[in-house]
């Protein structure tokens, strides 16, 4: 078995069908380590670097900078030096014919989000992959299921993965009656029930982390494991200026510095990302919904809901992941937790740790779930 690795156009987000390779950071013949930045990719929503899936030598680069390629298209080939040129060529030919065969199969379409009815409300979800119990991703305040664009495709390969839009967010109904963390946890539980999901591995970020934690405390039978990414509920502080900024900023130029608080590297905040948040806020009812949730969860720089004292009640495996440069929720909230909780603090990441350090977070989640089994 030769170790030839295909570097393909990734799928970042629901609607991504193609991407533009704007620049290569490596040349043919160059040795690379796994995780090395190979090239810059731009989509209509985001610009980011593509990291090398393997270590080896860059044997072929198949698209010129400035070229647009569909998701899944072969961009480059990485292989050890001993692999012969003919084998590389055969690999490329084989890849092309496999891809042609796959694209002619029915059901090869990218998964599309759909609405789940909960009484008179609806919750938008996206699911892919197979394998129970599923992973369930819960985003943070002002986010939506697109926030998992770097995590779902990867983690959904080995098991069923579901992401939802919280009430008041994304494509879900904008009616929020109870905006508190326990109140929103009930809505997530109801969504699970409507989907026929009895138990799930919960992955929650920030507000979504608080919600996942509340669900594990109040409905432990629903939760197989808990991955909390910079969650609410483990300390009292929060950067109230972020919440106030998300609520009040109605122009891209005012919102951008607010969103830059989320990340270690402000370049991750693209014009499209800012625009998407603005567009979500413009939907009828969205502003009121966000205000209801903010009022129920925060008071200035304080969090209203506290769960640290109850962590000892948790019966499922729990891990906590935090970016060391988090400017929204202090990384100190990840200290002095019960021994049973695995804690990972990642350098070079802010509050959006699952976007900034996607590969590491994905690996931590995959390993954690495997250990739970």
């Amino acid at each position: 078995m030769t170790a030839i690795t295909a570097v393909v156009m990734p799928k970042w987000g629901l609607s991504m069908q193609e991407g533009l390779v704007s620049a290569w950071h490596v040349a043919i013949g160059e040795p690379v380590e796994q995780g090395r930045e190979l090239c810059e990719i731009e989509t209509s929503k985001i610009a980011n670097v593509l990291e090398s899936p393997a270590s080896g030598i860059v044997r072929r680069i198949l698209v010129e900078p400035g070229t647009t390629a569909p998701v899944g298209a072969l961009l480059a080939v990485i292989a050890p030096a001993e692999v012969e040129e003919a084998a590389i060529d055969a690999f490329i030919t084989g890849f092309a014919s496999q891809r042609a065969a796959a694209s002619s199969e029915p059901g090869g379409e990218a998964p599309a989000p759909r609405l789940v009815r909960l009484g008179d409300k609806s919750i938008r979800i996206l699911e892919e992959g197979e394998g129970e119990p599923p992973l369930l991703f819960v985003h943070g305040f002002g986010g939506d299921l697109e926030n998992w664009m770097f995590n779902m495709p990867e983690l959904g390969r080995e098991r069923r993965a579901i992401a939802l839009d919280l009430p008041g967010h994304g494509g879900s109904s904008k009616v929020v009656t109870d905006g508190s963390i326990p109140g929103l946890a009930l809505e997530v539980a109801a969504t699970m029930q409507a989907l026929g999901v009895a138990r799930a591995h919960l992955v929650g970020h920030s507000l979504g982390g608080g919600i996942a934690l509340a669900l594990a405390l109040d409905r432990p039978e629903c939760v197989a494991s808990l991955t909390l990414l910079a969650p609410l509920g483990l300390g009292s502080e929060i950067a109230g200026s972020f919440i106030a900024g998300v609520l009040s900023a109605n122009r891209a130029r005012r919102l951008r510095p607010v969103l830059e608080m989320l990340v270690h590297d402000p370049k991750l905040v693209t014009a499209e990302m800012v625009e998407n948040v603005l567009r979500a806020k413009r939907l009828d009812g969205a502003q009121t919904a966000l205000e209801t949730i903010a009022a129920a969860c925060f008071e200035g720089d304080r969090q209203r809901w506290q769960a640290r004292a109850r962590l000892v009640e948790l019966r499922c495996p729990v891990q906590v992941i935090w970016g060391e440069d988090d400017r929204i929720l202090p990384v100190a909230h990840s200290r002095d937790l019960p021994q049973a909780i695995a804690v990972h603090r990642l350098a070079g990441a802010g509050h959006l740790v699952h976007m900034e350090k996607a590969a590491e977070v994905n690996a931590l989640i995959a390993r954690f779930i495997l250990a739970c089994a």
């Binding site: 609607s15 400035g66 122009r251 891209a252 130029r253 014009a271 567009r279 413009r282 939907l283 009828d284």
Partner: protein
């Protein structure tokens, strides 16, 4: 996110607002078609099919085909607005507004002011504008500057399908008269448009490109041309900021002045004639309020001070093109003041 055309986005905005609020009605020439004749109902849906399907959905009571008498039906729409309805009147081509200026300038625009704020006139007039359709001088003008000049009117001109839906819903919910400009060459252009209703506030420009070297202020169809130029020049490492003003009244002076100050070099692109235009208005604003930041004179790219020609070859030359915009950007970049 579903892709929809400019035409579909406008149709969806009308449908959703008519569903939400029974006071919203449509009126205009052939907005359905077939009224008072043995012809087919809803045969037209407006001259370019924008309102198609709304009459079968909401009935003749709320979708009114009017006679070809703009002075009469615009007057009726103004009256309906002050007495409790929220009419959306379609006046086919902006070129035809001349016959009903009194109803708009002296009546609709003045009621709130002259009645001490006690009257409101929640009226929208939709209209088509713009050249490029081989429709000659009387069916190709822009004329939004004329309405921008009148206090009491609001003026929106969306540059894409997403903005068209959000600005039209905002217009319908607004308590003042709004003239809503649709470029006839843009109806088939697609963009991602949410299925849900949403509003884009008036007076909030969109910054559609960001760069450090030159600022282009554009409106309507010209925004797309400006974006093309910005994308092309980005490959030469020339950074261009593009501002889509979205509404000419109210005008987002803050974004215009901020982005003008940031680069110090400004091109204003407007499809209308240059004299007393939105372009000259914005150029004057920048000259007055941001003079100390300017590194070059503000350059305007507009149509000439001449009627729109019928000759296709001349019409193509008449409309501001991406090439003309690019040349203007290079000109302001090359400018250096003599010491």
């Amino acid at each position: 996110m579903p892709k929809k055309t400019y035409r579909q986005a406008i149709n969806e905005a009308l449908r959703q607002e008519m569903e939400r609020d029974p006071r919203v009605i449509l009126m205009g020439e052939d907005v359905a078609g077939g009224m008072g004749s043995p012809g087919e109902d809803d045969a037209w849906g407006g001259p370019l099919g924008v309102t198609k399907g709304l009459m079968p959905r909401f009935g003749r009571e709320r979708v009114l085909d009017t006679p070809i008498t703009e002075s009469a039906f615009i007057g009726a729409a103004v009256g309906a607005a002050v007495t409790g309805l929220r009419p959306v009147a379609e006046l086919m081509f902006v070129d035809f507004f001349g016959v009903c200026f009194d109803q708009i300038f002296n009546q609709a625009a003045k009621f709130r002011y002259m009645f001490g704020g006690k009257a409101k006139t929640p009226l929208v007039i939709r209209t088509m504008y713009g050249a490029g359709f081989r429709a000659a001088s009387q069916h190709s003008q822009c004329l939004y500057s004329i309405f921008t000049h009148i206090p009491g009117l609001k003026v929106a001109l969306p540059s894409n399908a997403y903005d068209a839906k959000g600005l039209l819903i905002q217009a319908i919910r607004d308590d003042d008269p709004v003239i809503f400009f649709e470029h006839k060459a843009m109806y088939d252009e697609e963009a991602e448009v949410p299925d849900e209703p949403y509003t884009i506030p008036f007076g909030e420009a969109a910054v559609t490109r960001e760069g450090d070297d030159v600022t282009i202020i554009a409106m309507g169809r010209m925004v797309n041309f400006a974006n093309q130029v910005a994308d092309k020049l980005a490959k030469e490492k020339i950074g261009v900021t593009v501002v889509d003003i979205r509404t000419t009244s109210p005008l987002d002076t803050e974004t215009i002045l901020d982005t003008a100050a940031e680069t110090g070099r400004v091109v204003v692109v407007d499809e209308s004639h240059p004299r007393c235009s939105v372009a000259s208005d914005i150029a004057a604003l920048i000259a007055q309020e941001a003079f100390e930041h300017l590194k070059a004179p503000v350059k305007m790219v507009t149509a000439p001070h001449a009627p729109v020609p019928f000759s296709p070859a001349l019409e193509d030359l008449y409309i501001p093109s991406p090439q003309k915009i690019e040349a203007a950007v290079r000109e302001v970049l090359a400018f250096s003041a003599r010491a």
